[in-house]
């Protein structure tokens, strides 16, 4: 193979690779949300709660509005070490009021640079979690304390 051909091939490859390294798009999630799964304490399988409404205390925006689900994903404060959520469970008995609870989370925010394209995401370390007033026959388990930008990741499990 002639030297000129070798030079051309190598130059073309290096230019192509340099241009490929200039990608400006972000292909990974840029939100860190705490996943809470509701579980049946007897069967250890997902437990669906009907008519579930979740809203952050201090926010006007409703995260979940009367949905039937066994898992929810909640955003924690980036600039604080505790976050509260109001959880409303629709009553199944006619004439009975909906049940309201406050879920309190203690956590430590940690900034993490994902990449130049994706920017910074605030990761969290969950310290503790509780619900008030106390739900009957429930337990909360911190399944995974590290909240990162991984979709569908579970961090708390509430056993009924």
């Amino acid at each position: 193979m002639k030297l000129k051909t070798i030079y051309c091939i190598f130059s073309a490859i290096i230019i192509a690779v340099c241009m490929a390294s200039c990608s400006g798009d972000c292909y990974v999630p840029t939100k860190a949300r705490m996943g809470v799964a509701f579980m049946d304490s007897t069967t250890l399988k997902p437990y669906t709660i009907n008519g579930l409404t979740v809203q952050g205390v201090g926010s006007d925006s409703i995260l979940y509005n009367k949905v039937n689900t066994s898992v929810i994903y909640l955003p924690l404060h980036d600039n604080a070490e505790q976050t509260d959520f109001k959880i409303t469970i629709a009553s199944t008995v006619e004439g009975e009021q909906d049940k309201e609870y406050i879920m309190h989370i203690d956590h430590t925010p940690r900034p993490q640079l994902i990449s130049p394209e994706c920017g910074c995401v605030m990761f969290q370390t969950v310290i503790s979690a509780d619900v008030s007033p106390v739900m009957s026959d429930y337990t909360i388990e911190i399944y995974n304390a590290e909240v990162k930008n991984i979709e569908n990741d579970i961090h708390l499990k509430i056993f009924f």
Binding site: I14, H77, P111, Q112, C120
Partner: protein, 250 residues
């Protein structure tokens, strides 16, 4: 090893020359030339497969310094050395350093560190002693290690639900990490002792030596650290071959 070989075939030559002299009472010019050919044949047969050392190479990667023009704020260089054994096996060691200071409106990320890799390549082509050039086409394996420190400052993290924009920073954190690489490389002799090489690497089995909840965004020698379990990289090198004694010819 070279001294032993030298003494061995010198002794063989002496034996052979002595036996030939004892059998022939008169030598002519033609007999001398024939004798020399026979002696060289002996040398070739003795040294066939005995040329273990067939050159040493010093390689300078020029891809990363050029890529600095495109990746904004990260400078990395790498040098490597390898030795040709039988023109088949090439033990190699790589060393490099990285300096990084990326700044924009959303963050400032500073990092610096060094890395090295050790391993070997296996050449599939062009390994006969009668070859004219020293081109190679090889596959290889490396173990890589990096030590770096990093710091994030003036980082703006946005939370759209709570309508927050938080400025945060971290302390300087040291990290030690290792990984395994598999690579394919081609090195072509361009002019005398100068070569050009292209290497494609696949990095996997990355691990940190210390458990941590945080991680750097870039590891020198490895590349961008993320959720993927594998990474890939490219090196484009200019190489210099240190002269070595080639097989004698008639």
């Amino acid at each position: 090893m070279t001294s032993i070989l030298k003494y061995f075939f010198s002794f063989s030559l002496l034996l052979w020359a002595t036996s030939i002299y004892a059998q022939s009472s008169q030598t002519t010019v033609n007999d001398s030339a024939a004798q020399r050919r026979v002696q060289l044949d002996v040398m070739n047969k003795v040294n066939k497969n005995k040329y273990i050392y067939q050159g040493a190479y010093l390689n300078l990667d020029i891809y990363d310094p050029i890529a600095t023009l495109f990746n904004g704020g990260r400078f990395q260089f790498e040098v490597s050395a390898d030795v040709s054994l039988w023109q088949r096996l090439f033990p190699a060691i790589d060393f490099g350093m990285m300096f990084m200071d990326q700044k924009n409106t959303d963050y400032r990320y500073e990092s610096n560190g060094f890395f090295f890799r050790v391993g070997a390549n296996y050449n599939f082509i062009n390994f006969k002693d009668t070859r004219r050039y020293d081109h190679i086409l090889a596959v290889g394996v490396r173990y890589g290690y990096a030590h770096l420190g990093y710091k994030l400052s003036d980082a703006v993290c946005t939370n759209t639900y709570w309508n927050e924009s938080t400025s945060a920073e971290t302390e300087w954190k040291p990290v030690d990490t290792g990984w395994v690489e598999f690579l394919a490389t081609v090195r072509a002799q361009i002019y005398k002792s100068f070569f050009m090489g292209l290497t494609i690497r696949v990095q996997t089995f990355q691990h940190f030596y210390q458990a941590s909840t945080d991680y750097p965004s870039y590891i020198p020698g490895y590349g961008v650290y993320g959720s993927s379990s594998t990474n890939w990289g490219v090196d484009f090198t200019l190489c210099y071959q240190f002269p070595y004694k080639k097989k004698p010819t008639l």
